[in-house]
């Protein structure tokens, strides 16, 4: 027992005890927190006016402005696609993005299923005109089908871009 009670061992024990004391006494580091935002930012919502071209056969389209609330973190493009689909009773397109002055819309392959030619024309042009009138960054709309360029769904040639008349 005596051999463990050497000066060096006692000194080491003292240093260990001192370290333990400092550890217990030090403040607990702050857990990670979200970046502080200005108080008004969290509650802020943007308003997007969707210029809806509602099909009105055989006359054409009825233009109706629809105001959408785009919350923080929400994508205005997705919001617009969803609002258009709900307003026209159509399937929701898979996606929308802007590239080189063009709006590109990705459609599901059954987007125009069960429609005749006139109905397909109204559905696709309603979508294209609505997007072009809502998002000025695009001067024309190109359609993809399931992420790929396609000659069309059933009746319309989708290789031709759509522009506002």
């Amino acid at each position: 027992m005596r051999k463990y009670l050497s000066v060096y061992n006692l000194l080491g024990l003292l240093v260990f005890a001192l370290g333990l004391f400092v550890y217990w006494q030090s403040p607990v580091p702050n857990p990670p927190k979200a970046l502080p935002l200005p108080a008004d930012e969290a509650a802020r919502e943007e308003k997007l006016t969707l210029n809806l071209y509602r099909p009105d056969p055989p006359q054409g389209f009825l233009r109706e402005p629809v105001v959408l609330e785009v919350g923080l973190g929400e994508n205005p493009y997705e919001k617009a696609l969803l609002a258009w689909a709900q307003a026209t009773g159509s399937p929701t397109p898979l996606g929308l993005f802007a590239a080189e002055g063009r709006l590109v819309v990705d459609l599901p392959k059954d987007f125009a299923r069960g429609l005749d030619t006139e109905e397909e024309v109204y559905r696709l042009y309603s979508l294209a005109y609505t997007l072009l009138a809502t998002f000025p960054e695009g001067s024309e709309v190109r359609f993809l089908v399931e992420g790929q360029p396609s000659p069309g769904l059933a009746h319309l040639d989708l290789e031709v871009p759509v522009r506002l008349p």
Partner: protein, 384 residues
């Protein structure tokens, strides 16, 4: 010492000076543009001396021997011409580099005191005489020159009962000018005596939808079935007409488009609600073939027939179909726009028939008859 220097420099100076050029039996001058050591000869002299085919344009010149040919871009700057082995235009004449030409056409090139460009006489190896023409095989590539009374093969020799040996070469006497002469390669020359069969216009019927895509369903009538039945009925009335799908199969629009691009007439069949018959046709057609249709009336009959086999006029097809439906008492609505399968060189339209017109066997037979009548009238050129 000065004399020795001159003696040393003389060969270099003389090497770039014009040299005599002998091309077959003709003589001329070989030039060295830009002093690059590349010998050039006047293109007309080279062609005449060896019986080569010559095509001369503003910016290019080409010389040919049978299936072999060599094209040279024409340069006015002599250094640039010599460094890129292009043809050289000098005082309105065009000169071509002789060695690259000899390599391309299999000519013999010898440089001694002058330049000698030669072509050994070709030996006739075989003659196949058929009612539709002759196929001749020589020991090397040979040109054929159509002359009154037959075809001359310059610098060729041999014996055959059908051929006459002349000083310039072998002559094939013919009672009428050949329809075409071409070079299949391997020293062969084909002389065609009968005209090639011209392609006939082809009709493609596209039954819309199919497989997992039923299309419209109106009072138990399914579009994919109705369009297939209609297409079969039309095809039965138009011998030779093809269908994009033969049964209830899923056929993507890409596959239909690939077929549509090969047809002279395309009618894509669809069904709509109600009883209306609608025709959808393309608005603007920009392809060169489609635009050349405007000159159809100015073309000789053979070329017009060829064009009609590959290009069509959708407006004229729509008019023919409209008239055929009118004969059956049907009114037709027409619209122009970017419709699927219509952006092709042929005459392509999308025809949509109201479901109420397709309810019974008799009604479908009547619609099929109108479609077949319209297509037939279009092909015969009877529609306005």
């Amino acid at each position: 010492m000065r004399a020795l220097l001159l003696l040393f420099l003389a060969p270099f100076a003389l090497a770039q000076a014009p040299k005599p050029l002998k091309v077959g039996e003709l003589t001329g001058e070989a030039l060295y543009p830009g002093n690059r050591g590349v010998s050039y000869g006047e293109v007309g002299l080279v062609a005449r001396g060896l019986g080569l085919a010559l095509w001369q344009g503003e910016s290019q010149v080409a010389l040919g021997l049978g299936a072999r040919y060599r094209t040279f871009p024409v340069e006015a700057d002599e250094a640039k011409a010599a460094s890129s082995l292009a043809a050289w235009r000098k005082d309105g004449r065009v000169y071509v580099p002789l060695r690259p030409l000899a390599d391309a056409l299999g000519l013999s090139y010898r440089a001694q005191v002058g330049i000698q460009l030669d072509l050994p006489w070709a030996r006739l190896l075989q003659v196949e005489a058929r009612p539709e023409g002759y196929l001749l095989r020589f020991s090397r590539e040979v040109n054929a020159v159509v002359r009154p009374g037959g075809v001359l093969f310059p610098m060729a020799q041999g014996s055959h009962p059908s051929l006459v040996q002349e000083a310039m070469g072998l002559f094939l006497p013919l009672s009428r000018p050949p329809e075409r002469v071409y070079y299949p390669g391997g020293g062969q020359v084909a002389v065609g005596l009968t005209p090639l069969p011209l392609p006939s216009p082809t009709v493609l019927l596209d039954p819309g939808h199919g497989g997992e895509d039923p299309g419209l369903e109106v009072q138990g009538l399914v579009e994919k079935e109705a369009t297939l039945d209609l297409a079969r009925r039309v095809a039965a009335l138009l011998p030779g007409a093809r269908l994009t799908r033969q049964g209830d199969e899923t056929l993507p629009l890409e596959a239909r488009l690939a077929l549509a691009r090969t047809a002279s007439v395309v009618v894509s069949l669809h069904m709509a609600r109600g009883r209306e018959v609608r025709l959808y046709l393309p608005k603007d057609r920009t392809s060169p073939l489609a635009q050349s249709l405007a000159r159809l009336g100015d073309l000789p009959e053979e070329r017009a027939r060829l064009l009609r086999a590959y290009a069509g006029d959708p407006a004229r097809l729509a008019a023919a179909l409209e008239r055929a439906f009118a004969d059956q008492g049907f009114a037709v609505a027409k619209a122009e726009g970017p419709y699927a399968l219509t952006r092709v060189d042929g005459a392509a339209v999308l025809l949509e028939v109201g479901a109420e017109r397709l309810g019974t066997e008799e009604a479908r037979a009547l619609v099929a008859q109108a479609i077949a009548q319209g297509i037939r009238a279009y092909l015969e050129g009877g529609a306005p």
